[in-house]
Amino acid sequence: MRRRADTPEEAAFRTEARTWLEANAERKTGVGDWSAGPRAHTVEAEDEYWEKMKAWQRRKFDGGWAAITWPRAFGGRGGTPVQAIIFAEELAGFDVSSGFIDAAVGLIGPALIRFGTPEQRARFLPPMLRGDEIWCQLFSEPEAGSDLAAVRTRGVVDGDDLVLNGQKVWTTSAQYADWGFIVCRTDPDVPKHDGISFAMVDMRQPGVEVRPLVTMKGDRHFNEVFFKDVRTPLANVVNGLNRGWPVTTFVLMNEGASIGTTSHGRFRIADLVGEAVENGRFEDAVVRERLGAGYVEERVLELLQARLKGAILDGRRPDVDGSVLKVFSAESGHRKAELATWLQGAAGMLAGHDAPMDGRWQESLLSRGATTVGGGTVEVHRNGLGERALGLPKEPRLDRNQPFKALRISGQ
């Protein structure tokens, strides 16, 4: 289960990566690292964070490190998945972040490589990877959450353009985006999955209105986005008109898998043990019992993640379903935050700088939705595990064999 030793070629690559990083970034100090996120939930602080991320992305691109596994033709390094893991391992020690830039690149990039035309790839991939064009994902709508194929935003062909009208929601970073990839309804007269198109749209044009939504945690990284007669050339449709659903599911699978493999990072049980020892609560058997239980979940998650990574390192197909990691990571992460604030006792009522450990655990409690809902709810992922991994029958559906426009929606 432990990381096997590098081969000579891998060791050379690791040295090359580390040398470049040492020359181009500062090491994390654990105190005041900018990569930990915006210093406050203000527009100014978030703008500043974005400028730093963009600058880092550009530097990474210019050094040839922005996408290890992508072909060189698209600005990648043409490397192996093993090299991508090695670079990520080295990168983890440095005070840098590409934040949502990387996430968007990871979602739309592979979809364009897989489904895009040569012209689409050449036009969009290099500036995306360099951080010159920031992307957002325009998927969810008020009436299309877990049931994403129920999107109602209309795309109507007019000459050489697609004309968009409708509303998207939970759109992360739309306020920073130059481009978006949108799932829209181009034919309401056929069953829902057959009338969907996947297109790229310029976000910096009249008719696109972005309204920030403030999360319960207080940050404003996602938005509502309204489209009023917004045009995008038909040349920006991916995989052809009304053939957008396979592209959409491809993106969704990547998204769910990436959320499950994110580690709990700086939220460690070991830190809680240290705190408990210092404040004397470690003498309490109930405290030790709960800390030990928390560690079991933390370690089991890490072992599952290492197993997924090990499969990639050995060139095997991953043999554990990504949804196992997603559900376990999301739910155990929240339990860990509950444990941390329980340990704080009444002091856990505080938040921010007044709270123990600068309120990181209180923030973690309030980040719950980002993992248990974002990237697919844990319930949808459990359906996937039941059906895909275990082969249980699908739920009978009422929305398969009739035109989309005949389906019932909430409130009607």
Partner: protein, 396 residues
């Protein structure tokens, strides 16, 4: 359609070994055989042990070839226990090869391995008697006394909860005293069944597929396996390995109860559809899969650490047991629940797995005991251990 789960972490040879064992147990240890043994009071299937333990060589898998064993590592023994656990095979493989086998191997060290390990490899049925009244698995609770008597020792006291104690031919006993007075005070002694002063009595076991016995020792002649009074650390190490092996047995059972639940969810129709299409059932199965994947991943890590003598081996053994014990219980219960009314009949097998799960969760440290141990290890690692943080390595 049978549920296909990946052969995670197994080499091609190990996959073949696993498949061979699965076919063997399906043929020679169908659940009917387990039930026949249960009803007969024999405690085990002598025929199965002769075939599996001796002829297939399962009893000596992890014993060196020089002592007549197969010379494999813990991994192969784990595979065998996993398949035996899946089948609820009525034979003392865990007691003999894992519990007695690992404790003896650690205690005897470079000593007279042939004397103690060769009979085990040859299929001698052995077990370990370490728990006493109260069942608390802490070495401090051991009272059974060993006294030197010439070249041998005499044991007096009582052991309880001895796995397969009614079937064993040789009992390895953890006793206090008998040494020079230094060391930790514990020693491992061997007593052959039939020795005067030994009284073995069956205890009624919740897990009806694995018998337990209470054994009384009245000045029973015993031979020391290691160094009396100084075996504590080696015994603890052996128990730690046995804990990981018990988790391997658990994983085999977990997979079986998950498969049963999924099969039932596909086959059983209510309201005009398979019940597995309802989210209430599907989500239970998804949670079982998450428990199972976590379990086998943790066991894999603990096995690798034990085989490599990794400094984290104790911690990972505790992580594995703390996860696998409660997870198997949850899974056995959910599998039984999914099977509805028939699930709680005597005739259906769901309760047999539930009984096994419940017993496995309590044997070799409950989850809470391991949680406590883990917390102490973490505190010690931070170099901030308070008075109660320095005892992470003690025996169970």
């Amino acid at each position: 359609m049978p549920l296909v789960l990946s052969d995670f972490s197994l080499s091609p040879e190990q996959v073949e070994f696993r498949d061979t064992l699965r076919r063997f147990f399906e043929t020679h240890a169908p659940i009917g055989e387990t039930r026949r043994v249960m009803a007969s009071g024999e405690g085990m299937s002598a025929e199965l042990w002769k075939n599996a333990g001796a002829e297939l060589g399962l009893a000596g898998l992890a014993i060196d070839e020089a002592q007549g064993g197969q010379g494999f590592g813990l991994k192969e023994l784990a595979i065998a226990l996993s398949e035996a656990g899946r089948a609820l095979a009525p034979m003392p493989l865990f007691a003999s090869a894992a519990l007695a086998g690992r404790v003896v191997a650690n205690v005897v060290g470079a000593g007279d391995r042939a004397a103690w390990l060769a009979p085990l490899a040859g299929g001698q049925i052995a077990t370990l008697a370490w728990l006493e009244a109260g069942g608390v698995s802490s070495s401090e609770r051991i009272r059974l006394a060993a006294k030197p008597a010439g070249a041998t020792h005499r044991l007096s006291g009582e052991k309880r909860l001895v796995l397969d104690g009614g079937q064993a031919e040789r009992i390895f006993v953890v006793a206090r005293g008998g040494g020079e007075g230094g060391g930790d005070g514990l020693g491992l002694f061997a007593v052959d069944v039939g020795t005067p002063g030994l009284a073995i009595e069956r205890q009624e076991a919740f897990d009806v597929t694995r018998p337990l016995a209470c054994i009384r020792f009245d000045e029973v002649e015993a031979r020391a396996v290691g160094r009396p009074g100084e075996d504590g650390a080696a015994i603890a190490r052996g128990l730690e390995e046995a804990t990981v092996l018990l988790c391997a047995e658990i994983v085999g059972g977990m997979q079986r109860v998950l498969e049963t639940a999924v099969d039932y969810g596909n086959a059983r129709y209510q309201f005009g559809r398979p019940i597995g299409s309802f989210q209430a059932i599907k989500h239970k199965c998804a949670d079982m899969l998450i428990d199972f994947e976590g379990g086998r991943t943790a066991v894999e890590a603990a096995l690798a650490a034990a085989d490599d003598d990794d400094p984290e081996r104790g911690l990972l053994a505790s992580v594995a047991k703390a996860h696998c014990g409660p997870a198997y219980v949850r899974m056995a219960i959910e599998s039984m629940q999914i099977q509805g009314g028939v699930g709680y009949t005597w005739e259906y097998d769901a309760h047999l797995f539930y009984r096994r799960a419940q017993s496995c969760a309590l044997l070799l440290g409950t989850a809470s005991e391991h949680h406590d141990r883990i917390a102490r290890v973490l505190a010690a690692e931070r170099g901030q251990a308070s008075g109660c943080g320095r005892r992470g390595g003690e025996g169970r």
